[in-house]
């Protein structure tokens, strides 16, 4: 048995060494938590809680939706449903300066309504948009960065896997409300990203040239390609809003509706379904294990009183609410560079949510803010998953640094959104309060 501070130092030391050595994040968190708890409470206590934490975490009701929404995105991706959507949106935005990149951003946002997976969104849209941007001689970092960050819009626009994980970390926040709360910020971020690309393309036209323009008739003819989005939106958000089913049941319904859409579009193939299922096993399986590892570590933070120490430390400065939130977001931005988003949420939410609530913000608002912070984590090296997804589909020889370099300016765009939401929290809470009371 050692003092709480010693246990925490040992835990964080073990975590740092394991992460640097390249041990999987879930195992780094798990081992750091186990070692810290062992030295603080002893072996007997550890054997009582370790298995219990693992079992309780994977039998959580709200987590049920996570694999379903990932599967929905993977089904759309493996059946190449993103291609039609991209071609349709390109007709509307392609003529603008930076038109291809703007169209990619808009498609990712729309794909967000059909998928809860940011990696599926980035991979689906990227595989169509990247060859087109290469052909048009787009600046490669801009093209790659746009796709990596635009893919994260799927995390903010409902349904969202990240919001479901947030729901696992907190007990008294409605996932449905957090879903709805993400719509307005998601649309604002889409607009901000598009404005940035537009300005960049006007200043450097050779780096982001205009695409072909389409006639009004061609534009109107492209609209039916948005039909799958509308159907899925009505199923998920409409179904929840009308009280037909919960967010978790909506996830299952969305899988069946997606299969129906694929069948109606005559693209259904069993091999593609199996491919989508195995991709889902890979992503969801990874998330479950990180949740277990992060919860074991979170348990140590709880029993050592670490959360209260951090909370009291931040609150002692008596900063206004907005100042405190900016400090918290700076900490989250730094944490997001070396932690996976799941670990980031599971570890930081129990620490920072009480502070946000103390400052007068709501759990729904903080869920959306946390999701936006996670978007940054998805695009910052060395653990930004979306960077790897885009690197995976980029031309051979593309380094992670090139993708990260392209994504970097968008981090500032995301920060602009965060500042807007800190000063105008109603932009998040108005829609869920209006729709769901």
């Amino acid at each position: 048995m050692v003092a709480p501070t010693t246990a925490l130092i040992i835990c964080l030391g073990v975590l740092g060494v394991l992460l640097i050595l390249g041990t999987p994040i879930f195992m780094s968190l798990l081992l750091a938590g186990l070692v810290g708890t062992y030295v603080f409470e002893g072996g007997q206590m550890l054997s009582n809680v370790a298995g219990k934490i693992a079992f309780n975490q994977v039998t959580g009701y709200s987590l049920l939706a996570m694999p379903m929404f990932i599967l929905m995105g993977n089904l759309l991706m493996s059946h190449k449903m993103g291609d039609d959507l991209y071609e349709g949106i390109y007709k509307w935005f392609g003529w603008m300066p930076g038109g291809l990149a703007i169209a990619s951003t808009v498609v990712c946002a729309i794909f967000g309504f059909m998928s809860g997976s940011n990696t599926a969104a980035a991979a689906t849209v990227g595989s169509v948009a990247l060859p087109a941007m290469e052909k048009m001689k787009y600046d490669r970092p801009l093209a790659l960065g746009t796709l990596a960050v635009a893919g994260t819009l799927a995390a903010l626009i409902p349904p969202s896997t990240i919001m479901i994980i947030y729901g696992t970390a907190v007990s008294d926040v409605s996932i449905g409300k957090v879903f709805i709360g993400g719509i307005v910020p998601g649309l604002i971020l889409t607009a901000l990203m598009s404005i940035y690309i537009y300005i960049y393309a006007v200043i450097y036209p050779q780096k982001a040239p205009r695409g072909e323009s389409s006639t009004f008739k061609e534009k109107m003819a492209a609209l039916p390609r948005l039909l799958p989005v509308i159907v899925l939106f009505i199923t998920i958000i409409g179904g929840m809003y009308a009280g037909i089913f919960t967010a978790i049941e909506a996830s299952a319904a969305s899988v069946f509706v997606t299969l129906l859409i694929v069948i109606v579009n005559r693209r259904f193939k069993w091999t593609r379904v199996l491919d989508a299922l195995l991709r889902t096993v890979k992503t969801a399986g990874m998330i479950y294990m990180i949740i277990i590892g992060a919860t074991v570590m979170g348990h140590l933070f709880f029993i050592t009183g670490f959360r209260e120490v951090v909370s009291n430390y931040i609150l002692q400065f008596n900063m206004p609410g907005w100042g405190t939130m900016i400090v918290i977001l700076l900490i989250l931005t730094i944490m997001g560079t070396f932690l996976d988003v799941v670990a980031l949420i599971m570890i930081s939410v129990p620490i920072f949510l009480p502070i946000a609530v103390h400052m007068g913000y709501t759990g729904v608002w903080f869920g959306v803010i946390m999701t936006i912070a996670s978007e940054m984590a998805l695009c910052t090296p060395p653990v930004g998953v979306n960077l790897f997804v885009i690197q995976g589909i980029a031309p051979p020889g593309t380094t992670l640094l090139t993708v990260a370099k392209g994504a970097f300016p968008f981090i500032f765009v995301i920060w602009v959104l965060l500042l807007i939401l800190i000063f105008y929290p109603g932009l998040v809470t108005w829609l869920p309060n209006t729709m769901m009371g």
Binding site: G22, V281, K282
Partner: protein, 170 residues
């Protein structure tokens, strides 16, 4: 050894396919609950318990497959900057540490199963015995440690050149 590694890999692949089937079962169960709620006017008691336990089975059985296909994310800072020989050693070290962590966790979770078995613990809703599900925690980490060992032996036998592509966060 080659046969053993191949067997472990095949087992993980098989578990991946079982987990894929479990996702479908979860979605069918959830939809069935919605339909029955509207058809008979009340939810079926057993569905929630079965769905949650199926989720547990999915999470624990998928872990070794995820490891086999390199799905467990890691922060590979060092691998970006070192040569292939050092990358090989990093991979070996990481696999040893992961194996040890899995073995420790398998031992620790055994307590969960034995306690549950002694009192014949059952779920709240419809008395489904919980101990067969709780043993899955230990099973998961045993399977994971086997997959780690398979990866470890593959790494030991591989030449440093095989690690040229080992960059990034997966």
């Amino acid at each position: 050894m080659k046969v053993l590694i191949s067997l472990i890999n095949k087992m993980s692949d098989y578990l991946g396919r079982i987990s894929a089937g479990l996702i479908l079962i979860i979605s069918i169960l959830l939809m069935f609950e919605v339909i029955m709620r509207y058809v008979i006017g009340k939810p079926l008691d057993w569905i929630l318990d079965v769905t949650l336990l199926t989720q547990a089975a999915f999470a624990f059985l998928a872990a070794s497959y995820v490891h086999k296909v390199g799905g467990h994310v890691s922060m590979n800072i060092l691998t970006e900057y070192v040569n292939n020989k050092s990358r090989r050693w990093l991979s070996i070290t990481s696999n040893i540490l992961t194996t040890l962590g899995c073995v420790w966790m398998a031992f620790l979770s055994w307590n969960l199963f034995t306690k549950s078995y002694k009192i014949k613990e059952a779920s709240y809703g419809v008395d489904i015995p919980l101990y067969p599900w709780k043993i899955l925690v230990s099973v998961c980490f045993v399977l994971m440690s086997l997959q780690c060992l398979a990866r470890l032996f593959e790494d030991i036998k591989a030449s440093p050149d095989d690690f040229a592509e080992m960059k990034g966060g997966h």
